[in-house]
């Protein structure tokens, strides 16, 4: 290679490997930041191996990949055989065209189309948990089959039809002929099909995202829910390990694999053949061992499963040496059940997370969840209750309910006769700002989010209700009873704000504010304190509206049980809720989440008070504590009527797609390039026709 080409090639490889280098670098970060290096440490690698959820996700991913690849390989190989021996061209082409659809169709369309099928079937057979392991498996097999077919088909095509005949002629039985003659011909295609299927399945996110349900989380899905908030460096550590192992695998296969290139036509030695066989055999052995281990580990005694669907990072899960409230529950409750039933019972909590109430609602509404405990917010609870999607709780099974302080027992969203929810946390939205960049004179109101001075450093909620809420609190519009014109006024305000906004975020706000990438954003008090702890330049206040009145959102999240849960599972779900109200778990969660707790066992605990220090009075501001009822009625979001909801969704779409001047340049560039290409093609085509006309016409003359 010449010098320029070497430089060019190196540049491209730098481009390809830059982000990977970054993530490997940050996997050694001693702080939990993913964009500034604090120091070198191995702690995230240690963390990784104690992160049960991530390891479980890794295991799930492997099971799914192996199973789907095996099924796809069997179906695909058979199909390749059948198709290649098919005589009717028409049928053959039709089958191949259909076969290609999952490859040619955008993944998102494949994903949603399967989701629609599953949802529909789920409704037909009236089950509450259509989506789950089975559906992801079907989806993965579906997009794997085409690749297997495509890699095996050519092998069947190349195979000499007379080979099996020759084998039979030489005395093979038909089985021997397949095993000794046909099999070796296609095996390389089958193996490469299997490997491709395995890889695709391991890496798939989009299709899994739409077809996955409760109780089963793959690694990409886990990464996705983490990137919505903050990716902890242990995920980087995992990626670094995966990268390293693939690299080693490739190097080994490259050096043991016989390099039978044109240039050095060295014959394959027996030794090389042997090593190659050993590599293949050991790969399969490894796969077999993993599968075996997985099946053994899943096929133990009676297992009671509780599917919990909660917000991301919303429970003390044992990370950073904290109390593992899920593990503690599993242990405690399996003892209880074992004693009750007289034989060994294992309790397993499948804990998965969502990122918005609307996510949760979509899952509940489509009936695909299969969850036993969910933790929606106030207005969503009201909506779910009105639509009959959650069921009343049996408070006899939740004795710890008595520790909930009275003012939180009958909140506005659940003040009927029956109790549908047990409050988990509550909190208040405030504005976080960076004292280094933001002038103290500008703070105090919602106006700060609209302040020109800080253009490009302001964050807004990436969630319709909260984003509109910020505008409405600012303007003094009621967030619950606004008229359509008032909603549109709020939209106008948000459109005005849009050019100033750096990005629309949810949990990404942590990173953006802590790294000082952004300076201003509205978020929940507890989270604000966490951010302030990580970056001391950050400060926080409860904002006022333009009239100078205290006006901001207060919310509560509460544990509920979906309507479809049967009485047996409901009992377990209630046991889970009860356990979360017990002293140790409740305090651990409150310390972890940093939101307000409605539990008197928590708020009156002296260790907890000591742990929070001054923050205690930010979270449990006495003003709020004493007026919780009025606050809830005045400032919490209420469930909106169907047409208001539709309006909200439409206005949100309008805001999101509104892009005054952003992409103008892009259109012009695209247009120019497109014109250029079309022009070039037309030019070439005309030129070609002109040339050809010569010998077309002359030939025509000659032949006459």
């Amino acid at each position: 290679m010449k010098k320029t080409s070497k430089i060019y090639t190196s540049l491209i490889f730098i481009f390809l490997y830059l982000p990977i280098a970054v993530l490997i670098l940050f996997s050694f970060n001693s702080s939990n930041s993913t964009n500034s290096m604090a120091g070198f440490s191995f702690k995230w690698y240690k963390e990784l191996f104690s992160d049960g959820a991530t390891l479980l996700a890794l295991r799930n991913t492997l099971i799914l990949a192996i199973l789907s690849a095996i099924i796809a390989t069997v179906i695909g190989t058979l199909a390749a055989y059948g198709i290649s021996r098919m005589k009717n061209k028409h049928v053959k082409n039709t089958i191949l065209t259909v076969n290609n659809i999952p490859m040619m169709n955008p993944e998102i369309v494949v994903g949603i189309s399967m989701m629609l099928l599953f949802v529909f079937v789920g409704r037909m057979i009236n089950t509450s948990s259509t989506l789950g392991f089975g559906t992801v498996l079907i989806a993965h097999v579906t997009f794997n089959i085409p690749y297997v077919v495509l890699s095996v088909m050519p092998k069947f095509k190349q195979m000499d039809r007379h080979l099996p005949e020759a084998a039979l002629d030489l005395g093979c039985t038909p089985f021997q002929s397949f095993y000794k003659v046909e099999m070796p011909q296609i095996i390389s295609g089958v193996i490469s099909g299997f490997i491709m299927a395995f890889t695709l399945s391991i890496d798939d996110f989009i299709i899994s995202y739409f077809t996955i349900g409760s109780g089963f989380e793959t690694l990409p899905i886990r990464i996705y829910s983490m990137t919505k908030k903050r990716v902890t460096p242990d995920m980087y550590a995992l990626s670094a390990l995966i990268f390293l192992s693939i690299l080693i695998l490739l190097i080994i296969s490259n050096f043991t694999g016989n390099s039978n290139t044109v240039k050095d036509k060295k014959p394959v030695t027996l030794k090389q053949k042997k090593t190659k066989r050993i590599v293949i055999a050991s790969t399969f052995a490894a796969i077999a061992v993993i599968t075996g281990a997985v099946f053994i580990s899943t096929a133990t005694a009676e297992t009671v499963v509780v599917n919990v669907y909660n917000w991301g990072e919303y429970i003390s899960d044992g990370s950073n040496d904290s109390y593992d409230s899920i593990g503690a529950f599993e242990e405690y409750y399996s003892d209880v059940l074992t004693e009750e039933k007289g034989h060994k019972v294992k309790v397993q909590v499948n804990y998965t997370t969502f990122t918005s109430n609307e996510d949760l609602y979509a899952k509940m509404k489509s009936g695909v969840g299969g969850y036993d405990v969910i933790v929606p917010s106030d207005y969503m609870i009201e909506r779910l209750k009105n639509e009959g999607l959650i069921q009343p709780l049996d408070l006899n099974n939740i004795p710890n309910y008595k520790y909930i302080k009275d003012q939180f027992k009958k909140p506005f969203y659940d003040n009927g006769e029956e109790t549908y929810s047990v409050m988990y946390t509550y909190g208040i939205v405030g504005i976080i700002y960076n004292t280094k960049y933001v002038d103290e004179a500008d703070i105090g109101g919602w106006d700060l989010l609209w302040n020109n001075k800080y253009s490009g450093h302001i964050l807004q909620f990436n969630n319709a209700r909260d984003a509109f809420g910020s505008a409405m609190y600012k303007l003094g519009i009621s967030v619950n009873n606004a008229t359509e014109t008032e909603w549109r006024t709020a939209l106008g305000e948000l459109k005005k704000q849009k050019p100033l906004v750096q990005s629309y975020v949810m949990d990404e706000i942590y990173n953006k504010l802590e790294s000082e990438e952004a300076w201003i954003g509205a978020y929940y008090a507890g989270d604000a304190l966490t951010m302030m702890y990580n970056n001391e330049n950050l400060a926080f206040y409860y904002p006022k509206n333009q009239k100078g009145e205290f006006a901001t959102n207060i919310f509560a999240d509460a544990m509920c049980i979906p309507a479809g849960v049967d009485s047996e599972s409901k009992k377990h779900a209630e046991a889970f809720i009860n356990f979360m109200l017990s002293e140790e778990a409740a305090i651990a969660n409150a310390e972890y989440i940093y939101y307000g707790s409605p539990n008197s066992l928590v708020t009156e605990n002296s260790d907890y008070k000591e742990y929070l220090g001054d923050d205690y009075y930010v979270i449990y501001d006495p003003d709020i504590e004493n007026n919780i009822d009025t606050l809830f009625s005045g400032y919490a979001y209420r469930n909106l009527s169907a047409d208001k909801l539709a309006l909200l969704n439409n206005l949100w779409e309008e805001l999101k797609v509104d892009s005054s001047s952003f992409s103008g340049g892009i259109y012009i560039i695209s247009g120019v390039i497109a014109l250029g290409i079309t022009g070039f093609i037309v030019f070439c085509y005309v030129n070609k026709v002109r040339r050809r006309r010569m010998y077309w016409s002359k030939n025509a003359k000659n032949s006459k």
Partner: protein, 275 residues
């Protein structure tokens, strides 16, 4: 013979059944949802809704972004595929392996780590800051979204082009030189036309995921550049409007089918168009 052909027919049947159940049926459901309203009545309103200026803009934007990403990928990938194809067989094998290696890493996490690179306080700007340059605003721009697409899908362009180029018979290049082509015209008149099939499959493999992506634009565009994929995802995961989402998917499929058909029509001429 009869028995054998029966086996042969039966061999494909699990695949056929599977395809009907899980490829064709789901697509029928997309159509069904696209042409019905919430109560299951037949309607065109999902499509008329798409003709609002805002949705048209999203479609336009997605097509443009995907188009630019594809063009950039082609421009970047072609020379490198060519250089790799020119290298020694052993080097070639290693380089191609290196091109594919990043694809084994989860694409979410790779995209996420671009954020750390591109932010105003990110690694690149910190680095430039040492020399007193910047900070250059990169993240949350259209450029960042396109960069994300190019980054993620570049290998899909390099590999098919390389595999075609590496199969181009060296004697054809010698023949061209022998007949008077200088090194430049050897590329334009012989190498390029011969690599058209690779280019076509590269374009397909980059354009389709680019136009339908929903993660890259959210992360690198800061939610300011919604694409079709984001909008569809929102309909299914948060807005709970399956019908609108299905109609968008339907239109997305149409866009892809139409653009692929146009391109393949040219490809049928086997690059002869260019000469």
């Amino acid at each position: 013979m009869n028995k054998k052909s029966l086996i042969q027919k039966a061999a494909a049947s699990p695949h056929i059944v599977w395809s009907v159940l899980f490829i064709i049926a789901p697509l029928i459901f997309v159509m069904y949802y696209a042409f019905t309203d919430k109560d299951g009545n037949f309607t065109f309103s999902n499509f008329t809704e798409l003709f609002q200026a805002s949705y048209l803009e999203i479609f336009m934007r997605s097509v443009c972004f995907a188009f630019l990403a594809t063009v950039l990928c082609l421009i970047i990938a072609y020379p490198i595929a060519y250089f790799i194809a020119k290298a020694k067989p052993k080097t070639q094998k290693i380089l191609i392996m290196l091109v594919m290696l990043p694809m084994w890493m989860n694409f979410l996490i790779r995209t996420y780590s671009w954020m750390a690179l591109l932010e105003d306080t990110g690694i690149i700007n910190t680095f430039l800051g040492i020399f007193g340059i910047g900070p250059i605003h990169m993240i949350n721009t259209a450029g960042a979204v396109i960069l994300g697409m190019v980054y993620n899908y570049l290998p899909y362009m390099i590999i098919p082009i390389h595999s075609v180029l590496s199969k181009v018979d060296n004697r054809l290049l010698e023949a061209a030189a022998d007949l008077g082509s200088n090194p430049f015209t050897v590329i334009t008149k012989v190498v390029f036309p011969l690599s058209v099939p690779g280019i076509i499959s590269g374009i397909t493999m980059v354009f389709v995921p680019s136009i339908s992506t929903f993660y890259i634009s959210q992360k690198l565009g800061g939610g300011n550049f919604d694409l079709i994929g984001d909008t569809i995802e929102r309909q299914f995961q948060t807005a709970y409007n399956y019908n609108l989402g299905a109609s968008m998917s339907f239109v997305l499929m149409l866009i892809i089918i139409v653009s692929m058909t146009i391109m393949n029509k040219y490809a049928d001429d086997d690059g002869g168009v260019i000469i």
